[in-house]
């Protein structure tokens, strides 16, 4: 799939490259949505983030010079757009489609706790714990020094724990 993406991105500089880009980027909707969902905690916000990321990538596609970096480039855009999304204050319980009451309560509490974290904290938790990226990859995606990833991740975990106890 990565080679197919590379071939497609070679046509980005053509005038009809936009259409080819739109067609191919649809192949990345799945993982892009899941990444945004882990950062925002909310399907609706993740959907909006994915749409914004796709539009932003479409507009700035000509700035991409290295076809081999297209996936990492789009991933950064998705993360940025997900961080810009503010999770909604209310949760549609019916949309969660969870029958187990305990699991439902946990899910609601997770979403509420995530919504109270800073965007950078939500992002680093999702990238480290949800996507299992290395510290070097996280530093590249977030644009932060690699030496600070461990401390920022620990701070995010502590913030989550503290806010979780407040929600109980």
């Amino acid at each position: 799939m990565e080679r197919a993406a590379s071939i497609v991105f070679c046509s980005l500089n053509a005038d009809d490259g936009a259409r080819a880009f739109e067609v191919r980027i649809s192949e990345w909707r799945g993982w892009g949505f899941r990444l945004a969902l882990k950062i925002t905690g909310c399907p609706e916000a993740a959907h909006d983030a994915l749409q914004n990321a796709t539009l932003r990538a479409l507009r700035s596609r000509r700035a991409l010079r290295d076809p081999g970096a297209e996936l990492a480039w789009f991933r950064k855009i998705v993360v940025r757009c997900a961080m810009d999304q503010k999770p909604p204050a209310s949760i549609d319980v019916d949309s969660l489609q969870i029958s187990d009451e305990q699991e439902l309560e946990e899910r609601i509490q997770v979403r509420r706790t995530l919504s109270r974290l800073k965007p950078s904290q939500r992002a680093i938790l999702a990238l480290a714990l949800g996507e299992e990226f290395s510290y070097a990859e996280i530093a590249e995606i977030l644009g932060i020094p690699m030496g600070t990833v461990a401390s920022q991740l620990n701070a995010a975990k502590e913030a989550f724990r503290r806010l979780w106890r407040e929600e109980e």
Partner: protein, 107 residues
């Protein structure tokens, strides 16, 4: 007591099976972008002319908005012509929603 981070990791695992809604395509948004690009080509002058023309039409009574405000104006005009006191009649917007002709107040 279990670590809340475990709950968070359970949530992340549940996300791995999630799929975006079928409406999550670029087409509608691209359509919106294309629309506004087209509209921007018209320029502010054309839009301003259209707004001015609409405002003039509304003021002259040539355009019936169909809402209670436009209907009230027509009703009051009729009442004044017939010599009726404006506060003697209860205005019912529904009665004027189905009007198809403007009154000939120029007569």
């Amino acid at each position: 007591m279990s670590d809340p981070i475990e709950k968070l990791q359970n949530f992340y695992e549940s996300c791995n099976g999630a799929e975006p809604p079928m409406t999550a395509t670029l087409a509608p948004r691209a359509g919106n972008v294309a629309f506004w690009r087209f509209a921007s080509l018209l320029g502010p002058a054309a839009g301003g002319f259209a707004v001015a023309a609409l405002a003039i039409s509304l003021a002259a009574g040539y355009v019936h908005t169909g809402d209670s405000f436009g209907s009230r104006q027509i009703l009051e005009r009729q009442m004044l012509q017939s010599g009726m006191a404006l506060d003697s009649v209860q205005f019912e917007p529904a009665a004027y929603q189905k009007r198809t002709e403007l009154p000939n107040w120029r007569a």
